[in-house]
C-alpha cells in the first residue's frame, strides 16, 4: 500500500474572550465548570492527537479575542528560529516528541501574553470571529501555495467558541464563510455555551459539523470523537445528525427574524 500524499491541515480558532471566560469560570450558570486554561489544555491534547494521526498533518491555532485575532501557533516570527526553538523545547521535554513540546509551549506562551497584555481598555462580551476566520482562510491559501509538487493539502477549520454572536459581523462572517465554501474548506464549530445561528449557517454552508456540547467538562472527548476525523472519513462514522438550520433573514429595521421577506432587486436588502 502506497502512502497517500494528501496531508490534512487543521486550523483551530479558539475563543479567548476574557469576559465570557471569566464569567463562565465564576460558575454563575452552574454548568460551565471550565476555565480558559482548561480549555486550552483540551486544545493542546486535541492538536497533539491531530498531529499524531499522520506525520504529514499540519496545524495552526488562532485566538479570537474581543478586539483582535492572533496566531497562537505557529508564531509569526518563527521563520529562521524554528530549528533553535525545537532544540530548546527538546531540552526541556524529557523524551517528549519535539513538535508536541513546541506546539504546547507556543500555545501556552502566546495565550498568556494575549490575555495578560492584550486586553484593551474596552471589553466586549462578544468575539471578533470574522477576522479570525478570514485569517484562517488566508493562512490556508498561503500554505496551499507552498506545498511541494505532488503533495495535496486538505484543510479544514474548527471553531471553538463560547461567547455570543456579534451581529455586527454578520456580513463579514458570511462573506468569509462563502469564501471557504468556494475553496472547499470545511468549517466545523464546537459551541460551549450560547447557540450560534451564524455558526450553524456557516457549518451547513461549508458541509461541516455544528455541535453545541452539553457537558463542557467533557470537551476533549467531544473533540476527539467528532472533530478529529477528516471530513473524508466522516461519512463512514456514526456521528450526530445534522440539525435543521434556521436560514431566516433578519428584518432590516428591527433585526428580528422574519418568515416572509421581500427581496428587492438590489442584492442583500430584505425588508
Amino acid at each position: 500500500m502506497t502512502e497517500s500524499s494528501v496531508s490534512s491541515q487543521l486550523i483551530i480558532i479558539v475563543d479567548t474572550n476574557p469576559v465570557w471566560w471569566g464569567q463562565a469560570d465564576t460558575g454563575e450558570s452552574g454548568q460551565n465548570q471550565m476555565s480558559l486554561a482548561q480549555c486550552l489544555e483540551c486544545l493542546m491534547v486535541f492538536s497533539n492527537s491531530h498531529l499524531m494521526m499522520s506525520h504529514r498533518n499540519k496545524l495552526a491555532v488562532i485566538a479570537a479575542h474581543t478586539d483582535k485575532s492572533i496566531f497562537l501557533y505557529p508564531k509569526k516570527d518563527q521563520g529562521g528560529t524554528s530549528a533553535i526553538n525545537i532544540s530548546e523545547e527538546a531540552d526541556q521535554g524529557d523524551g517528549k516528541y519535539e513538535l508536541f513540546g513546541l506546539v504546547n509551549n507556543q500555545i501556552k506562551n502566546q495565550a498568556r501574553e494575549l490575555v495578560i497584555n492584550g486586553g484593551s481598555s474596552l471589553l466586549y462580551p462578544d468575539t471578533v470571529l470574522a477576522g479570525a476566520l478570514a485569517m484562517a482562510l488566508c493562512y490556508i491559501h498561503r500554505s496551499e501555495k507552498e506545498v511541494g509538487p505532488g503533495e495535496q493539502l486538505s484543510s479544514r477549520v474548527l471553531i471553538i467558541k463560547g461567547s455570543e454572536d456579534n451581529p455586527e459581523q454578520y456580513m463579514n462572517l458570511m462573506n468569509a464563510v462563502f469564501t471557504a465554501q468556494k475553496q472547499n474548506i470545511v468549517v466545523d464549530a464546537c459551541v460551549l455555551d450560547n447557540d450560534s445561528g451564524l455558526l450553524q449557517q456557516a457549518c451547513d454552508i461549508t458541509g461541516g459539523i455544528y455541535l453545541k456540547i452539553p457537558q463542557v467538562s467533557g470537551l476533549l472527548q467531544y473533540l476527539l470523537w467528532i472533530f478529529l476525523p477528516d471530513p473524508t472519513e466522516r461519512h463512514k462514522l456514526t456521528l450526530p445528525p445534522k440539525a435543521q438550520v434556521d436560514y431566516r433573514a433578519a428584518c432590516f429595521c428591527h433585526r428580528n427574524l422574519i418568515d416572509i421577506g421581500y427581496q428587492s432587486s438590489i442584492p442583500s436588502f430584505v425588508a
Binding site: 476574557p18 471569566g22 480558559l36 489544555e41 483540551c42 445561528g197 467528532i226 456514526t238 445528525p241 431566516r248
Partner: protein, 570 residues
C-alpha cells in the same frame, strides 16, 4: 366583371392590343377603360378611371410597345400594342391612348381624396379594424361616417406620421432631364411627368402661385406649361422683359430673390468669400481688369446668376420642410454682419469693399473664435456617435447603511453585564492564566469521557434520529447468513488477489489478471443479484456498500499496476 359597351360613349378604340398574350381591342370610354378579347362581345377587363393611379409607357429603346396602367391598390395591367402595320403604327396607337388618358385621368383623380385612400390603407393594414368595419358598416349597424368619426384620432395620427416622413429632395438637373424632343416641324415636345411638375412647383413657388391663379379659368394645363417653357427660355437671357408675359412677375421675383440671396452673406468663419474674385493676378498684368470683364461678360454673368439662383432654389426646396429654428439662428447671426447693400449692384465683390466692412464691424472680430469653434464642433461632433454617458441609474439611498451589515439578533438575549463585571471577569482570567501550568495528562476525567461517549453513542442524547435498534435485530436471519457467505467468498478472492503483489514473476502476473477477471465475475454473478434481492427488503442501510468498496479498491490497484507495466514496456 363584364358589362356591355353600348351604354357609354366610346372615346377611342384601338385594335391589336394584346393583354396576357391574347389579342384584343382596347376601349377608352367616358368613365372607364376596357379591353375585350377579339370575337367577344363583353369586356374581360374594365377599370374606372378613378381607380387608376398612373400610366407608364415603355421606353422607345425597347422592342415591345407597351403601356402599363397602375391602379390605386397597387396592381397593374400591361397592354402590348401589336399593330401588324409595324412598330411605328403601334407607337402611334399607344401615344393616342396615352394622351387621351393623360387628359382623362386628372379629371377623375380628384374624386379619390387622400382621406379615402388613407382609410383604405388603414383597413388593409389592420385586419381587426377591417373585420370591425365589415361587421359594423357593411352589415349596416352604423354608417361609415360614424365609424370613422370614432377613429378620427387614428386617421389624424397617420396623417401626421406621413407628414413627418423624410421628403425626397429635388434633383438639381430636373429641368435638364426633361429633354425636349423635336417633332420635326420647328417645334419642341416636352414630356412632363407629375414628378417634374412637383419639382418645378417646389423649386419655384412663384410658378405654383401662377399655376393656381391661371390654370383652371384662364388657360388649360398644357397651355400653361407651353407658356412656361417659352417664357423660361425667353428669360434665360433675361435682358428684355415683356409685361404681357404671365411669368414676368416671376422674373422680377427671381431678381429680387437673387438680390436677397446676395445680401445674405454666408457667415462661415472658416470661409472668406470676400477674398474670392473672378479675376486672377495674371490678367492685365496685375492691373485691375474688372471693368472690361463686366461689360463683355454681361450675358454670361446673367447665366451664372441664373444657375446659382436655380441651385439656391433647389436647396431651399429641401430646406423648406425642416424646422425653421436653425435657419432663424443663422439668420440672426448673419444679421449682425449685414454688409450686403453696399455690394448689391454687382455680383463681383471688390476687395476694398470687404476691407471696409470688416473694419466697420470690428465687434465681429471678437465673436469670431467662438463662432469658429462652434462651426468646427458642428462639423466634427456626431450625435449618434456620442457615448451614452448619462444612463439613468437609480441610486440606492440608504438611511442606515450599517443596518444592512448586521446579522440577526442573538436568539438568547444577551445577559446584562456591567462594566465592573466585565473587568473583574477579565482580571480573574488573566490571573488564572498567569499562574497556569498545563497538566495534559489530567485534562479529562474518565467519568466525564464515559458520559460523553454515552451521549454520542447511537440512542444517546446527541444522536437523535438514529435508531436504538441493533443491526442484527433489523436484518432477517437468512439475509445475514447470505451476507456472511458473500463476505467470506469475497475475502478469499481478495486474499488471493492481494497476495500477488508485488507481481515479480511471470506466474504472479498471470495470476493477477486471472484474479481480476474472477473478481469481476463474482461481482456480476453474485454481488449484483444479492444487491437486487436486498432492494426488496427495503433496508435503510447499505449492506453491500462495503463489499463494493473492497472491489473498487482492488480494481484501482489493478489498473495502476497495469498502467505502470504498459509504461515500462513502451
Amino acid at each position: 366583371m363584364s358589362t356591355s359597351r353600348s351604354s357609354e360613349d366610346v372615346l377611342l378604340i384601338v385594335n391589336h392590343v394584346r393583354h396576357k398574350k391574347t389579342d384584343g381591342v382596347l376601349y377608352l370610354m367616358g368613365e372607364r377603360m376596357g379591353w375585350m378579347v377579339e370575337s367577344k362581345n363583353s369586356f374581360s377587363l374594365s377599370h374606372m378611371y378613378s381607380d387608376i393611379k398612373s400610366q407608364k409607357i415603355s421606353p422607345d429603346s425597347k422592342d415591345k410597345v407597351q403601356l402599363q396602367v397602375v391602379m390605386h391598390d397597387g396592381s397593374a395591367k400591361t397592354f402590348h400594342f401589336t399593330n401588324p402595320k409595324g412598330r411605328d403604327v403601334g407607337i402611334k396607337d399607344r401615344d393616342g391612348i396615352k394622351e387621351l388618358l393623360q387628359q382623362l385621368l386628372p379629371k377623375f383623380r380628384s374624386k379619390i381624396s387622400s382621406e379615402l385612400e388613407e382609410k383604405n390603407r388603414l383597413l388593409q393594414e389592420s385586419p381587426e379594424l377591417f373585420q370591425l368595419y365589415k361587421d359594423l358598416v357593411v352589415s349596416g349597424v352604423i354608417t361609415a361616417e360614424e365609424f370613422w368619426e370614432s377613429r378620427a384620432d387614428q386617421l389624424s395620427n397617420i396623417g401626421k406620421n406621413e407628414g413627418s416622413k423624410q421628403s425626397v429632395g429635388v434633383s438639381a438637373a430636373f429641368l435638364a432631364d426633361i429633354k425636349p424632343q423635336t417633332d420635326g416641324c420647328n417645334g419642341l415636345k416636352y414630356n412632363l411627368t407629375a414628378d417634374v411638375i412637383e419639382s418645378i412647383f417646389r423649386t419655384y413657388p412663384m410658378v405654383r402661385k401662377k399655376h393656381a391663379e391661371n390654370v383652371p379659368h384662364e388657360m388649360t394645363e398644357s397651355e400653361f406649361w407651353t407658356r412656361f417653357f417659352q417664357s423660361h427660355y425667353f428669360h434665360r437671357d433675361r435682358t428684355v422683359l415683356s409685361s404681357k408675359d404671365v411669368f414676368s412677375d416671376c422674373a422680377k421675383n427671381d431678381d429680387r430673390e437673387i438680390k436677397d440671396e446676395v445680401t445674405r452673406t454666408v457667415n462661415d468663419p472658416l470661409l472668406d468669400m470676400l477674398k474670392m474674385t473672378d479675376s486672377n493676378s495674371g490678367d492685365g498684368f496685375g492691373g485691375s481688369s474688372d471693368e472690361r470683364k463686366l461689360s463683355t461678360n454681361q450675358t454670361n454673368l446673367t447665366m451664372i446668376r441664373r444657375f446659382n439662383h436655380h441651385s439656391t432654389m433647389v436647396l431651399k426646396a429641401c430646406e423648406s420642410n425642416r424646422t425653421t429654428k436653425p435657419q432663424d439662428a443663422t439668420d440672426g447671426a448673419s444679421g449682425t454682419s449685414d454688409n450686403g447693400p453696399k455690394r448689391s449692384n454687382g455680383a463681383v465683390a471688390t476687395v476694398t469693399n470687404g476691407d471696409t466692412d470688416t473694419s466697420s464691424t470690428s465687434s465681429d472680430m471678437f465673436k469670431e473664435p467662438a463662432a469658429k469653434r462652434a462651426k468646427i464642433r458642428e462639423k466634427l461632433a456626431y450625435e449618434d456617435l456620442e457615448g451614452r454617458t448619462h444612463s439613468k441609474n437609480v441610486n440606492l439611498r440608504l438611511h442606515k447603511t450599517d443596518g444592512y451589515l448586521h446579522g440577526p439578533r442573538p436568539v438568547v438575549l444577551s445577559k446584562y453585564m456591567t462594566s465592573d463585571d466585565a473587568v473583574s471577569a477579565s482580571n480573574s482570567v488573566s490571573q488564572k492564566i498567569s499562574d497556569w501550568a498545563p497538566e495534559l495528562s489530567n485534562v479529562l476525567r474518565g467519568s466525564a469521557a464515559l458520559g460523553v461517549l454515552g451521549e454520542l453513542s447511537p440512542g444517546g442524547s446527541l444522536m437523535y434520529g438514529t435508531s436504538h435498534q441493533q443491526l442484527h435485530n433489523m436484518v432477517a436471519v437468512d439475509v445475514q447468513s447470505e451476507l456472511k457467505k458473500q463476505y467470506t467468498a469475497l475475502q478469499e478472492l481478495l486474499r488471493h488477489f492481494w497476495s500477488c503483489f508485488p507481481a515479480s514473476s511471470k506466474f504472479l502476473e498471470e495470476k493477477v489478471c486471472r484474479m481480476k477477471s474472477t473478481l469481476e465475475r463474482f461481482q456480476v454473478t453474485k454481488l449484483i443479484p444479492f444487491k437486487e434481492s436486498l432492494k426488496q427488503h427495503h433496508y435503510t442501510i447499505d449492506l453491500v456498500g462495503h463489499l463494493e468498496e473492497l472491489l473498487s479498491t482492488a480494481y484501482a490497484k489493478f489498473d495502476t499496476w497495469q498502467a505502470r507495466k504498459m509504461a515500462k514496456r513502451s
